[in-house]
Amino acid sequence: MKKPKDLNLETLSLHAGNKPDSDFGSRATPIYQTSSFVFPDSETAAGIFNNERAGHTYSRITNPTNAVLEERISSLEGGIGAISTASGQAALFLAITTILGKGSHIVASKSLYGGSHNLLEYTLPRFGITSSFVDFRKPKNIKSAIQKNTGLIFGETLGNPGLDVMNIEMVSNIAHQNKLPLLVDSTFTTPYLMKPFDYGADLIFHSATKFLSGHGVVIGGLLVDSGNFEWSSNKKFKTLNEPYNGFHNMKFVEEFGPAAFINRARKEGARDFGACMSPHTAFLILQGLETLSLRMEKHISNTREIVSFLNEHKDVKSVSYPELEDHPDNKLAQEILPRGCGAVFTFEIEGGLESGKKFIESLNIFSHLANVGDAKSLVIHPASTTHHRMDTLALKNAGISESTVRLSIGIEDINDLKEDLDEALKQANR
């Protein structure tokens, strides 16, 4: 019997979720720029609203363009379904609030993107959800941080900006031994570099603003469900195990089985929180995804050269990149990130804060801004910008000092990038 062959990432990036438009044969995914959808009759309307029929009602909840994107990211990650959101932050919020509520607790990596840290440390406690931040390199710390009310373990594939490589298999084992799901922010790696579900993650979210869209033109997020977690195994997940008054007493585990989480997220979170993605944004992310593998290949090859260049530069104190032998996660990175460790990394400049500022202001090709994963090269000083809300200890825990500079390497000509960096380093130490 002929062995079935699933399509590869490069093919799925272009095709998954999309069929040529049935009305006019449009090959590109049409942008359904509409708030709502006309029902052919009252009975059909009632059927779609009651989840008897498949279809769209209102673009806050579903939209055909967004649906293509949701299927595409699910296919790339190996998930059963996804929801597109207004931003990566909205995706994180949706993931958390779909299963947790007042009195819940999260065990999170201490090495998180500043925005995620803000949400968990400062904002969610106002709604009764607290978090403990621990070093995910130490299994003992994760285990001891789990409390009776813990409902989620959360970390990033590559910590931002210190690039701690998360041992997803180890962390997911701990999570599952405690009947808890593992949520992973996979923004820095994308499915091109790693698929967290293969290592035991249960939920993934992306800031699609970054490498997935790839051109710095949109803000968007994606939440993907593996369908692997046994929600019925832990009755503390009341939103999935108990009747939901907000949808005719629907019991999500009973009606959707493995798809309980993603259905609840859409039927409640997408409906009520309203942090939806515009169809035009979905279209632009789809355009970006079509070239994901080509861009990532170039991002990685450029990054490797720049890392090597800076590592040997006399005006650079140190470079932090998991492919370097002195990085604490070098061995793990070789195992789970053989295609590369992303295109974002940090380095410490000689001369401290003032040199750092001068360096950034002297760059010509690199753009000084708060983003990563653009096709264009970017630079920022995390301590004064993306992570400025963190106190000194939290900054230290996240691997950030005052002289840390973060680079996001684009796909420009490598020699032009090296010359720009070299010249700026000279200016910084003049």
Binding site: M1, K3, P4, K5, D6, L7, H15, A16, G17, N18, K19, A46, G47, N50, N51, E52, R53, A54, G55, H56, T62, N63, P64, N66, A67, V68, E70, E71, R72, S74, S75, G78, G79, I80, G81, A82, I83, S84, S226, G227, N228, E254, E255, F256, G257, P258, A259, I262, R266
Partner: protein, 254 residues
């Protein structure tokens, strides 16, 4: 026996019973179950023994499963019912309708064929390495077009959803189910004995139970309704949920 929705009073009723296929469970019927429930029709989407939330010992033949369901019906004093079955479930519906014709009002056979012979290599995979069998069943279970998505249910990736359901089935279930399908005999004679109203819903691009292999069944039923969904593969409830529902509504309208 587990059935959904559990809160229903089913004693002495004449329900429509939904029977899933290989390695699946009641959740494949969520949409039509919600429709018929809203229309105040008694509907039961059952988990076959060893599947989903049914803790009973798995059974390895269509006739044993049929007897098992009849025992369940007797327990709840259900004298007559209608059956909707997908794939293996369609053979169970056929067996039930032919063995006790007076008890079955109508049957809908979705994604069906006779014989439903299973390739030896696939059976062996199901026994020794179920993941290979799951991959084959999923691959063959969708039309090429549906393997690329375009799900009518927004945001859901069909093939992986199907895999996940089968991956969650208990050890040995897929092998037993496939063996039961493969060893089901006398389907054409059984078709002749059916007195119930019969409907077949078939996908034109079904690779597991090809449309052409349903023809003998069609020829042996008494005036069956044959509904063909152009472009659909074997996973009709996933690939064309609205059309499947419309055809079921048509069957049960009266």
């Amino acid at each position: 026996m587990y059935y959904h929705p559990v809160q229903q009073k089913i004693n002495n009723s004449e329900p429509i019973i939904f029977i899933h296929g290989t390695g699946m469970d009641h959740t494949v019927w969520t949409l039509p179950v919600r429709y018929f429930s809203r229309k105040k029709t008694n509907v039961l989407a059952i988990d076959l023994p060893g599947h989903g939330q049914n803790k009973d010992k798995p059974l390895d033949s269509i006739s044993k499963i049929s007897t098992y369901i009849y025992n369940f019906l007797d327990k709840y004093k259900i004298q007559r019912c209608s059956l909707v079955g997908h794939s293996m479930g369609s053979l169970i519906a056929l067996e039930m309708a032919s063995s006790r014709p007076e008890r079955i009002k109508a049957i809908s056979m979705i994604g069906t064929a006779f014989p439903m012979q299973v390739n030896e290599a696939l059976l062996e995979s199901a026994k020794s390495n179920p993941q290979i069998a799951i991959n084959i069943l999923t691959f063959m279970g969708y039309s090429f077009s549906s393997r690329l998505g375009g799900n009518k249910t927004p945001g859901m990736w069909m093939t992986e959803s199907t895999k996940r359901l089968m991956q969650k089935s208990k050890k040995g279930i897929i092998y037993k189910d496939l063996k039961a399908c493969s060893e089901f005999t006398d389907g054409l004679d059984k078709a002749k004995k059916v007195e119930a109203k019969v409907q077949l819903i078939l996908g034109s691009n079904d690779f597991l139970t090809p449309r052409i292999k349903a023809q003998d069944l069609i020829d042996n039923f008494n005036q069956p309704l044959v509904e063909e969904i152009y472009g659909s593969g074997h996973s009709l409830m996933m690939e064309e949920p609205n059309k499947v529902l419309d055809y079921l509504i048509k069957l049960f309208k009266n």
